[in-house]
């Protein structure tokens, strides 16, 4: 291991009303990948934002490359050699790759920009990383995974020796993650220190050397990754033993509730047939872009379908728009909570009431606030939504609690089929278990649960039956307790013959 390049001691940061960081210590050496772990709200991102100059600290010392710094700005941090890749992609999507990479430090001759020079250098950096992107391409036209690569290239173009990655893999496919890991290993070999923040604990083994664990704004422990067991890590993160990471509830499989026949909608939903039964959770596995989200949207009526039948209790229901689906009792907790699931600027109360206004309004469309209160109280109580009041904005909740609000919107309606699309993305271990418990609860109540997830362990751990999709088709169906990850993966990569050539 190399020498210590970043040392943060007794860092304190207070936001109005919250002590975000309380005497936190952190050390990073050159040539290592340090995983910074903790639940949401543990202060990981805040700590890293202080290191990269986005926030200023209220107390403590910060030494980078042996020099002590008082306050940094993002620009100053860049000059020192600290670069951060933020959790939310931070690109100007209207500008080109090269323009983004050089934003804020453009090369100029006199007052004129030297575009070709910047493009050449961008091209060289991308080439070094073996990333195949044209620097003149507009960033907004690139897929998210490529945008992520551009962010990394941008961070490196400032000759960063300390690279902070905040949830870099949350939107990448398995293949792209391998690509990212290849780049991380290369940087490590070049002597960079890398801070890696991720909720996907299973991917740590592939790259991480050391871990630092935080909880509730406090430093808990650090150590070599190899010396710790996963159980120890999780226990330190959540501060309590999690008995079961994937609590499974068994209950007898009942009658068929829901059936989809020959559903077609665009290229990613082709001839989909499946059924859901009472008392079971059906997992949908597959790679990113396999068409699972598209299938859920087509069922829910959010996207138009070209053909196909949807049957509820043996009777066909016509679904042309989400309202049809909701009325029939088929509801969707969409993939992107903040974008599709919630009105983040509205209160929890308004969010919970939104799809149920028909139930709580009188004939003239005036909201009965008594009924609204009852509805909200029940949702908060049943789903254990942790919030001081239902009047606060949905944006201010943690990811797990936001997800509960999304689900809570639907539970007042006696829904028959609940579709979860990536319900645990970006939420921490403890909250994940609560979401699993929620799904189990629905399952016990006889509601059909469709559970789309890209995290293989949770699909196999929670679902009873797993349907695997690839390329918009269903390529396999397995019982969760009798299968292996490899078998699911085999189905998930069963591309059509004529396409196989393009895929690899």
């Amino acid at each position: 291991m190399g020498e210590v390049i970043v040392s943060m001691k007794n860092i304190v940061k207070t936001f109005p009303g919250v002590k975000a960081l309380d005497n936190v210590n952190f050390q990073l050496c050159s040539g290592e990948v340090m995983a910074l772990l903790g639940e949401n709200g543990a202060g990981k991102s805040t700590l890293m934002k202080i290191l990269s100059g986005v926030y200023t600290r209220d107390g403590g010392t910060m030494t980078i490359f042996g020099k002590e710094y008082d306050a940094l700005t993002p620009k100053k941090a860049q000059e020192v050699g600290v670069a951060i890749i933020h959790q939310e992609l931070n690109m100007c999507r209207h500008l080109s790759v090269a323009e983004n990479m050089f934003l804020g430090r453009e090369k100029v001759r006199g007052i004129t920009l030297r575009n070709s020079e910047m493009e050449a250098e961008a091209s060289r950096i991308l080439g070094d990383l073996k990333i195949d992107i044209d620097p003149r391409q507009t960033v907004g036209d690139l897929p998210v995974s490529k945008q992520q690569m551009v962010e990394i290239a941008k961070a490196l173009s400032v000759h960063a020796k300390v690279l902070i990655m905040d949830e870099p893999t949350s939107s990448l496919t398995a293949k792209e993650i391998d690509e990212l890991f290849r780049i991380i290993r290369k940087l490590k070999a070049d002597g960079c220190g890398i801070v890696y923040i991720s909720h996907r604990l299973e991917e740590l083994a592939a790259i991480v050397d050391r871990v630092t664990i935080m909880r509730d704004g406090q430093y808990i422990t650090d150590g070599n990754f190899a010396d710790m067991t996963m159980d120890q890590i999780i226990a330190n993160m959540v501060g309590r033993e999690i008995k079961e990471q994937f609590p499974r509830v068994s209950c007898p499989k009942g009658k068929k509730i829901f059936e989809v026949k020959n559903l077609n909608a665009g290229k990613l939903v082709r001839d989909i047939n499946f059924s859901l039964y009472e008392g079971e959770i059906v997992g949908f596995a597959g790679l990113m872009g396999a068409g699972r989200t598209e299938t859920t949207r087509a069922i829910f009526g959010a996207d138009p379908k070209t053909s196909g039948q949807i049957l509820l209790d043996g009777e066909e229901v016509k679904i042309n728009c989400p309202m049809d689906a909701i009325k029939a009792g088929i509801v969707l907790a969409p993939e992107d909570r903040k974008k599709d699931g919630l009105c983040t600027k509205l209160s929890i109360r308004q969010n919970l009431a939104l799809p149920n206004l028909d139930l709580i309004c009188n004939g003239l469309g005036v909201i009965n606030s008594g009924k609204e209160d009852t509805l909200c109280e029940e949702a908060v109580k049943n789903l254990l939504i942790k919030t001081p009041s239902v009047e606060i904005n949905a944006a201010n909740l943690s990811g797990g609690n936001q997800q509960k609000v999304v689900v809570g919107k639907w539970l007042a309606r006696n829904s028959r089929v609940v579709i979860f699309d990536e319900p645990t993305r970006g939420i921490d271990v403890g909250a994940k278990v609560e979401i699993y418990n929620l799904m189990n609860k629905l399952k016990k109540e006889g509601i059909a649960v469709m559970f789309v997830s890209s995290e293989m362990p949770e699909v196999l751990g929670i679902a009873d039956r797993v349907i695997v999709m690839c390329d918009g088709r269903i390529t396999g169906e397995v019982m969760a307790q009798e299968t292996t990850q490899n078998e699911v993966l085999k189905y998930a990569t069963e591309f059509e013959k004529k396409q196989a050539g393009f895929e690899i």
Partner: protein, 338 residues
Amino acid sequence: MNEKKQSTMKRLLGTRGMGAVLTAFAGLIIIYIAFGLIDRNVFSGQNVMNLLRSMSKYLLIGVGQSYLLITGNIDLSIGSMVGMSAMISATLMTMGIHPVAAMMVAMACCLICGVVNGILVGKFKLPPFIATLGTMFVTRGAAYMVNNNRNTDAIATGIGKEAGDSFQNFFYYGKTLGIFNTFWIALILFLVFFFLLSKTRTGRHIYAIGSNVDAAKLSGVNVVYTTIKAYLVSAVCSCVVGFILCAQAGMGNMEAGNMYEMYGVAAGVIGGISPLGGTGLLLGTFAGAAVWQTLENGLNMIGAQVGIQRLVIGIIVVFSVLLDVVVRSGSFGKKAAQ
């Protein structure tokens, strides 16, 4: 050499937003020819000269407003700044002060306005619509107060006759190389601001903060300064348009420039500048201003009434944006299919 030329050409056509610009120019040609077929006088040299002169105002206003639209903001105070500039310069000239000095005072006032707008929006994060709504009323109020709530007398009378005449000549009535000075002034300013936006660091930052202000800030872009610079551009443009209106009327009119900020939005939007920020080319604004003026001019020539003119222009604005939306959603559909 030829190859290099070709690649430059290709690159130019491949510039983001060039499609909308070409569409606007195509629209311009169609509109112009259509009016010309109805009334041959539209094609006359005299009319072309007048057209160029009248579009100059819209071009300048459009350039100013486009800078703000690209940053994702708006400047509602443009029209009032035009009025203030016209009133201040006219009042001072009627008092016998040299036009250059009068113009400098007017320009200084407009620049202060621009800085205030920029600070309110960039530093204090006021919604630009509200901040510039405020300065809009303040500057219009100032325009009224300059000459005690009255329009000024003619600027080219009495002791200032000679200076006033030369001012009017320089900004409106005179010609250079056979084309009205007004157009030359607008063209030069257009080229300067075109260069600033497309070739300099400031221009790049203007696009960046319009595209994603957080990303720009985290990349080390000074958002406050950049916002102020954008508002200064619209202040400069408005001020010069004030001089033009003052020269045209030969006096200061308190209501000069009324609604011009919206003409600026229209010119930009017709030329493909997104009011949501981040995209658009000033060439489009040029086309937009020309489309606007050609419509106004053509409808005038064929004897349409003001009501009809407004109505047609309104439809064109909505239609051009609608076209953009349809084309864009079409191209998105194609991408999904790939």
